[in-house]
């Protein structure tokens, strides 16, 4: 038989079409067709062989496998195509040949496929083995590395199972806890509980071994085999098996005992006095702060502030070395007098000590503490062959703890200690808030003044000035008052010195000037009369300058005539003012502003300033007035007043008597020819809104 080349090509094209999708072959369709055309040619040769030998067709089957037609469909479609294309003709010989050809083709395919399968299976198994070996080698290396880390690490490492059985511990951990591996293996993690462990450590541990968390870190103490305590920083990690179930636990811990001891020592040093070993100021303040932080309204605390009396004399006479030894002895005694749980003795510095008492029930508790302390101090101290008799004074404070301001509390104890010293030393005094308020010191007031001005705590009270001849109201003196929210109303004598000292008197004075002039204007607007307003001026206001400008500005602003304003100066102020203020006073006087000398007669006897300064008025101190009566037996005061009046009137000055309290005084002054008067008889100083009522009241 013969098959045309045309038929071969057609066969190959059909073959390519049907076989192409059966397996992946890295050929394009064109390349595939040309390959298959070649193979078809081979099949033609086999088919035409004579004598017929189908065996070579096996090579074509093998070639399909070699081209990677490895899917059963590939041979199925090939055999099918051979039978359909050539076996269909009615020729028994050809049918036999085609059958033989197909058989050989399939056999060759199967054989090569088997070879290929074996080869590839072999190859992949070998690859798996290599990979496995490689992985095992890497695992061994890793294990060796871990082993090296485990045994060489400076940190302690322990491995346990999730039941807490200890499986292995490294040398560092053995050394840290003092147990051998064998001893450790007989123990359970749970046995390493320490009394100081916080509950959360073991909660975390439970969460870890049950797989809720994978790691935790904590600080933990362990008891060593020899009973000592080891402080550690501990990190525990969970190891899970392939399915994620908790399997092992690994504890890594660092011995921080030395660090901890150092920390404790440093902490102790930071909180204790190096000389006496008592608590220092820092620790005292910390404890006091802690106690004061309570919210329990029944809690009470007390302070006993102790200062040795005249201790400087000991230091000065026998030297600081011996002085220090006395202090050490006294500190030790004070330490013995207190109950350690509720009381703390601290050395605040020098020869000053404090006893802080928690849980007092009343001030009497503090008295007992103080008496015990003072008695302990008072026992003679034998040091360096000498005997020293030392006493101490104590200031006591006792109050509810909640809401206490620690700084305030210490200050109160300090004030009280001062009272004890002032009352004769070697005694205690107990804090009295009333007394303390009364004695608020100048320093404190000076500090409060600027805020007082900002917050508008100052007020002016006005006291009427009356013409004695006809009882006419001529004006008023403006008097400064400080309404302190806690200290109450303060009169100028409490704070003016402090205000002058600090300079705050200047802005305060400006405010007084402005406010009183505004009041004069309001008075005019309401009554139509033009009163004179008399304002006190401090030396500082003159010497710091600007008073003239202030006066001009205020008069302008309030539309007052200069003669409506009188500035009152003390004798002390004008005597101390030789130079600059003179010019300013003269300018003010030239303007028509009145210049009065306040409290006349109480200061200097040298009255040359009356000639030198542009004074327009005198204010007669009330000490000359208090004894005046027309029918008085002793007329000394009347004589003095008369002389002053004569002098003043000769110099063209008007005179105002201060502190007139009775009708008799008023009568006497009138008879002596005094021009004006002020005092409770005519009206006490009152706020502006009460001034009208005061003046409308009955007056002689």
């Amino acid at each position: 038989m013969s098959i045309s080349d045309e038929a071969i090509r057609a066969f190959a094209a059909e073959w390519a079409r049907t076989i192409a999708g059966t397996s992946y072959v890295p050929l394009g369709l064109v390349e595939l067709e040309s390959t298959l055309t070649e193979l078809t040619g081979e099949l033609r040769c086999v088919l035409a062989s004579d004598p017929f030998d189908p065996a070579p067709a096996a090579r074509v089957g093998a070639a399909l496998v070699d081209r990677h037609f490895t899917h059963p469909d590939s041979i199925a479609c090939t055999v099918g195509l051979v039978s359909r294309s050539w076996g269909g003709v009615n020729d028994p010989d050809l049918r036999d040949r085609v059958a033989g050809l197909a058989g050989a083709l399939a056999a060759g395919y199967a054989e090569r496929l088997q070879e290929r399968t074996f080869a590839e299976q072999d190859a992949i198994r070998r690859a798996a083995m290599i990979a496995q070996n490689e992985a095992e080698r890497a695992a061994r290396e890793l294990q060796a590395r871990f082993r090296a880390v485990f045994s060489g690490a400076a940190v302690g490492i322990g491995v346990g199972d999730v039941d807490g059985r200890i499986l292995d511990v490294n040398p560092a951990l053995q050394k840290m806890l003092g147990y051998t591996v064998e001893e450790m293996r007989r123990r359970n993690v749970g046995e390493f509980i320490h009394p100081a462990d916080t509950a959360d450590v073991w909660q975390l541990y439970q969460q870890l071994i049950t797989g809720t968390i994978d790691t935790f870190r904590t600080a933990k103490r362990f008891v060593r085999q020899d009973g000592d305590t080891v402080w550690t920083q501990l990190a525990v990690s969970l190891i899970r098996d392939n399915r994620g179930r908790p399997e092992f636990q690994i504890a890594v811990m660092e011995d921080v005992t030395d660090l901890r001891r150092l920390q404790i020592r440093l902490e102790h040093q930071a909180h204790h006095d190096a000389l006496t070993g008592l608590a220092n100021r820092a620790l005292f303040q910390q404890r006091l702060g802690e106690l004061a932080a309570t919210t329990d309204p029944t809690e009470r605390i007390g302070l006993c502030l102790l200062d040795l009396d005249g201790f400087k004399a000991i230091n000065d006479s026998v030297g600081h070395g011996v002085g220090d030894r006395v202090l050490v002895e006294i500190a030790a005694r004070l330490g013995q007098t207190v109950d350690g749980d509720r009381q703390l003795v601290a050395r605040l510095g020098g020869d000053e000590f404090v006893i802080l008492v928690a849980g007092t029930s009343d001030a009497q508790d503090m008295v007992a503490v103080a008496e015990a302390a003072l008695a302990a101090v008072a026992r003679p101290v034998s040091v360096a062959g000498g005997v020293f008799n030392v006493t101490a004074s104590a200031g006591l404070v006792e109050r509810t703890a909640a809401g206490a301001d620690p700084a305030e509390l210490v200050r109160a104890a300090d004030i009280t200690l001062y009272w004890a010293k002032a009352e004769g030393k070697a005694r205690w005094a107990i804090f009295d808030p009333e007394r303390s308020l009364r004695e608020v010191d100048q320093y404190t007031l000076a500090q409060l003044l600027p805020t007082a001005l900002d917050r508008g705590e100052f007020r002016l009270h006005y006291q009427p000035l009356i013409a004695l001849a006809d009882g006419r109201f001529t004006g008023f003196e403006a008097l400064l008052r400080w309404e302190h929210p806690r200290l109450g109303r303060l009169r100028p004598d409490r704070f003016i010195a402090a205000a002058e000292e600090s300079g705050i008197i200047v802005p305060i004075g400006q405010w007084v000037l402005q406010e009183s002039c505004r009041q004069a204007r309001r008075w005019f607007e309401i009554t139509g009369s033009r009163p004179c307003v008399s304002v006190n001026v401090a030396l500082r206001q003159l010497s710091d300058g600007g008073l003239l400008d202030d006066v001009l500005r205020v008069l302008e602003a309030e539309q007052l005539t200069p003669d409506q304003l009188q500035l009152e100066l003390t004798e002390r102020a004008v005597i101390g003012s030789d130079h600059e203020p003179l010019a300013e006073l003269q300018a003010l006087a030239a303007l028509g502003v009145g210049i009065a000398i306040d409290d006349f007669g109480t200061g200097y006897s040298n009255m040359t300033y009356l000639r030198r300064l542009p004074i327009t008025a005198l204010k007669l101190d009330q000490s000359f007035v208090s004894e005046l009566r027309p029918d008085a037996a002793d007329q000394t005061d009347a004589k003095i007043v008369r002389s002053i009046l004569t002098l003043a009137h000769d110099l063209g000055l008007t005179v105002t008597a201060e502190g007139v309290e009775t009708a008799a005084q008023a009568q006497a002054l009138r008879e002596l020819g005094c021009d004006q008067a002020q005092g409770v008889f005519f009206g006490a100083p009152v706020p502006a809104d009460e001034l009208g009522r005061t003046l409308r009241g009955p007056r002689s």
């Binding site: 999708g21 992946y24 990677h68 190859a123 490689e134 992985a135 080698r137």
Partner: protein
């Protein structure tokens, strides 16, 4: 948690591996019972799978030729799997005998097998690596000794990125690779997609969750965005069989139903 690179790989022949399953789809025998069981299950579910995989393999061949035609002879084939037939270096060498290929796979068995096949072929290298650590691949001495990174390189990410979940930041990884390459370099991507047959894709995705490399199907738009700064070359991201088909090739109806996309990007000159 990702396994640190210094820890030994786990070899578990009872778990199917994507590389060996792929080999089975292509008609190879480089696989184990677990691989075959999974592949057969997948084929029962989705009978076109082998044809689709063949189409994917054919895309690899066409894409390499395309790159060579654009003057590239250096290839970095990441996720190369088990070299069965029509391997990158064979295709590339057919197109240009000077071609050099570095094979990278995460599967230690695939790597061992590749080494066995390639022996000491001077123009190929095989290394075990993880696409998610591009720096380790790019700095590997085998890459450095075979590839000249001062000249263009084609990075082949064929049938790989659907094994990289979004959590592993495939865009950033590709951008990092791109940064290390000179202009004229190319990025070759084919990617399984849920577009068209979402239900089937979801089940398929579920099947792969039992392998160490679970699947993340992406839409065409998402696949396009993976190219980042690489300029998509004609015809863009298209169904795999439609990407520069062989002349005279008749489209298989099966591969028309193919749910996968392919594309090639070019690193252009920065102006």
């Amino acid at each position: 948690m990702t396994r640190p690179s210094w820890a030994p790989p786990e070899i578990d022949l009872d778990r199917p591996s994507a590389a060996r399953v792929y080999d089975y789809y292509l008609g190879g025998f480089h696989n184990f019972p677990a691989d075959r069981a999974m592949a057969q299950e997948a084929i029962r579910m989705w009978p076109e799978l082998p044809v689709m995989m063949q189409a994917n393999r054919a895309f690899l061949r066409r894409a390499i030729r395309y790159c060579v035609s654009r003057g590239i002879t250096q290839f970095l084939d990441i996720g190369s799997g088990i070299p069965t037939v029509g391997n990158s270096h064979e295709v590339a060498r057919q197109a240009d005998p000077q071609s050099r290929v570095v094979y990278v796979d995460i599967d230690p068995i695939a790597v061992a097998h590749s080494r066995a096949i390639l022996g000491d072929d001077p123009a190929t290298r095989v290394l075990q690596g993880d696409l998610r650590r591009p720096d380790e691949i790019l700095n590997d001495e085998r890459v450095r000794e075979l590839l000249d990174l001062d000249r263009p390189v084609a990075v082949l990410l064929v049938a790989l990125l659907h094994f990289v979940p979004d959590a592993d930041q495939p865009r950033e990884v590709i951008a990092q690779l791109g940064d290390a390459l000179v202009e004229g370099s190319m990025l070759v991507v084919s990617h399984a997609s849920s577009d068209g047959q979402p239900e089937l894709a979801a089940r398929h995705q579920q099947l792969y969750s039992r392998t160490p490399t679970p699947m993340t199907m992406r839409s065409k738009v998402e696949i396009e965005s993976l190219f980042g700064d690489f300029a998509l070359q004609e015809p863009g991201v298209v169904p795999i069989a439609r990407w520069h088909p062989d002349p005279g090739a008749q489209a298989h109806p099966e591969s028309e139903r193919m749910v996968g996309f392919a594309g090639v990007g070019l690193k252009e000159t920065v102006r």
